[in-house]
Symmetry: C2
Subunit: 335 residues, 2 copies
């Protein structure tokens, strides 16, 4: 009997249960996928803990939004994929019914994408969350120019590394931050021009030093909290800071005076702005496909766990030790 991952209460990684469950039949507009690889995201640890700002899980709940696998069956009116296609999923659906952790998932057709020839199946499970998250702030909502400096914090995360790659498509200078010195090499391999190790180097002074006192033009930050004040301090006049998470988990004051003085923009952003809007989603997919096909974008995998170790994989996800994407391989489905 195939297995899926569900949780019946919110809590630590141990609430994730591997349970036997027969595949559901795809309904109108749905696709049943036999998963081969599953990409893990921080927002899934938040959902599991019960502190995901976008959604509260309706228990018991499936979990997960990114996987790659083989189409097993399609529901009525599905036209863009057919059985035996190799596909991956785009996070554009409800996890309660469509969560992907496990050996199979049922997702809406709009949440299915082809797998570029250059990508492995592990990499294909690591595409959409990171590049779609980077796409909004860096492509859709900005006009990046080579003269600009982009600051990417928590840069060793999968989104951080993906965002570095996207920013470099525009020829901008990228300054990246990480707390962990050992992650510098992988951050540089993604294209960062400068890396600030924030456990040893003060952010504001480092950015000011690297930019001759001017500061960064566009910031991309999933941490927020009190660190916003530092970002504001090393932002250039009329810079924009795009916040896409709340890893700090702490409130902070509104930096009004500095925002007035410098004419700063602060924007909250989640990839739902892309995935729930059909026109944007299609434009974003095309953009990302083009650069995956050309090899200019390529997901960076940190570590692979077997499905049986999903609890351990989530523990590792929350440890912050990874640099790049954590992927689960579904051995039973790999041929």
């Amino acid at each position: 009997m195939p297995r899926i991952v569900r949780f019946h209460r919110t809590g630590g990684p141990e609430v994730l249960c591997l349970e036997e469950a027969p595949p559901e039949q795809p309904r109108e507009g749905e696709v049943l996928i036999r998963n081969q690889a599953i990409g893990l995201n921080n927002s899934e640890a938040q959902l599991r803990r019960g502190d995901y700002p976008m959604l509260t899980a309706d228990l018991p709940s499936r979990i997960g939004r990114e996987c790659a696998g083989i189409v097993e069956a399609i529901g009525p009116s599905v036209t863009t994929v057919k059985p035996n296609d190799l596909v991956s999923t785009i996070p554009a659906f409800d996890v309660k019914r469509n969560g992907v952790y496990g050996e199979w998932c049922v997702v809406p057709e709009v949440g299915v994408a082809r797998v570029p020839m250059r990508l492995s199946r592990l990499e294909a499970a690591a595409v959409w969350q990171q590049y779609l998250t980077a796409y909004g702030p860096l492509v859709l909502n900005s006009r990046l120019e080579p003269s600009m400096t982009v600051l990417i914090t928590a840069a060793a995360s999968s989104v951080g590394l993906g965002a570095i790659q996207v920013a470099k498509l525009f020829g901008t200078r990228v300054i990246a931050t990480t707390r962990t010195a050992s992650k510098e090499a992988i951050i540089r391999s993604a294209g960062a021009d400068d890396v600030i190790i924030t456990s040893h180097q003060p952010l504001v002074a480092s950015v000011n030093h690297l930019t001759d006192g001017r500061g960064f033009d566009l910031g991309l930050d999933p941490i927020a909290g009190p660190g916003i004040a530092d970002l504001i301090d090393c932002a250039a006049p009329e810079a924009a800071i795009h916040l896409y998470g709340q890893l700090a988990g702490e409130p902070s004051f509104f930096p009004l005076r500095a925002m007035l003085r410098k004419g700063l923009t602060v924007r909250g952003y989640t990839l739902w702005e892309i995935t729930l809007n059909p026109a944007r989603r299609e434009a974003a997919k095309q953009y990302i496909f083009n650069h995956l096909d050309s090899g200019k974008l390529r997901p960076i995998i940190d570590r692979v766990f077997p499905l049986e170790s999903v609890v351990e994989a989530h523990r590792y996800l929350e440890s912050g030790r990874q640099a790049g994407k954590i992927v689960i391989e579904v051995a039973g489905n790999v041929s």
Copy 2:
């Protein structure tokens, strides 16, 4: 002997002194103006009190940035105006040397503009601060469309009324707020479609009611402080809130979760982004001149004080009782 207004210490309105001072000769690139009318701005009360976020006065200091009058003399290399021209001033200079309260002022040529034929001299002293402040958020940094709803708070201020007029140039719906019921009529006369009297009507519920629960698309607010939370609450998805002041004078928390959920943008803004950038300044002037010349923009004057009553005028400015611009008339220079 002509008189100018200066202050030798920061404090209440009474620190403003009317002192005799011979006109300075205009230097390279400067223009000496015999003032006939002077427009008062809230930021001048802040400068006088010592809590202007953009600048701390270097004492003793002149004060004021908006006036209308006759060119008395021009310095070397000035080409765009000549003696006896009727002009007004654009806030694009240092007040220490170039402050305009008094019977004369010396300002840089870039801070001088012609007076449109449709405007009185009192109105000409009330043009640039309000329309340039509105221009950035509503014209330069936004793409307003008739389907959008603009929320303008503190709408009976000169900037508020000017911003209503500018927003209506785009055919957008304008919801305006004021604490004072008696100001509703003048706010409607500026073009507001709906007025919320915040002393009696709750902001969030009122905006939601007026927009069928959708919220506003673009907000323009000089108050900030704890009221930011209310603005966030009645903002539509992907709305932008432009803050251009800190009248509340109180800190507030950073509304991260709602900004993430709704994809909101918050921007700090001052008209210095326009006035200190030559290309933007010229484009803004042209835009505003076009609409002043056509009669679509027209400053609203609240009350006129004689120069001798500058202290009383500042008291009135800080009382919040005005609806529109407070102007000082310089009787001795009016022919």
